[in-house]
Point group: C2
Chain length 126, copies 2
């Protein structure tokens, strides 16, 4: 699969795909005889993973660490596990912050929906 096809399939620009590879966020992609990227099914799984992790807000750096450990083989299993645990903790924290903001938004939306009918807000702040 060419870089263009992968780009279209996953909605990630070719530049970004090359960037992820250069940074080590995914292992080196398979190339054909003339050095052009030819993504295998395994390469695609890494792309998918990278996309999912970035979409969630995990840093490129965190993913790079994981891939580096992965490439060092089975001795790094405990380290990889602890990395995964801390990434999970990070995402759970992110979610809590989103929930706090959502709570605030919900409260405001309720008041604004009431105000949209009368045309005036019944409270003074924010």
């Amino acid at each position: 699969m060419t870089i263009r096809e992968v780009s279209e399939k996953y909605g990630v620009s070719a530049d970004t795909l090359r960037y992820y590879e250069k940074m080590g966020m995914i292992p080196p992609v398979t190339r054909n005889a003339s050095g052009i990227r030819d993504y295998t099914a395994e390469d695609l799984r890494w792309v998918e993973l990278a996309k999912c992790m970035r979409a969630s807000g995990l840093s490129v750096e965190a993913m790079v660490q994981y891939v580096q450990l992965f490439q060092q083989g089975d001795e790094t299993i405990p380290e990889r596990l602890s990395l995964l645990l801390s990434q999970r903790a990070e995402l759970l924290e992110k979610r809590e912050k989103i929930d706090a903001a959502l709570l605030w938004l919900e409260r405001k939306i309720e008041r604004y929906e009431a105000a949209a009918e009368t045309g005036v807000l019944k409270w003074t702040d924010e």
Copy 2:
């Protein structure tokens, strides 16, 4: 309340507080006779809000828009409501992406916990 006190109270640097104000993410802060910031309770509520929204990942830009509408008065209530609704939608989407990544992480963590006992992974990819 001085900028230093606010900074300590909320764990936001004085530079960041000035930045938020300069960008219009919070309305102009109350000043004393010599032009030095003296945060009132209302100013603090804006700071708190700004902190909460930024922590959730909402852009400075989105918050600036809200404050601008707020400062224009009651005619902007419908616009403010629709802005709040789209911000909520954005946060809900963010949370779904986090949940997707968490699902993946949980799956891996399970397998790694099993592997940590044997010292070897039972699957070949990622």
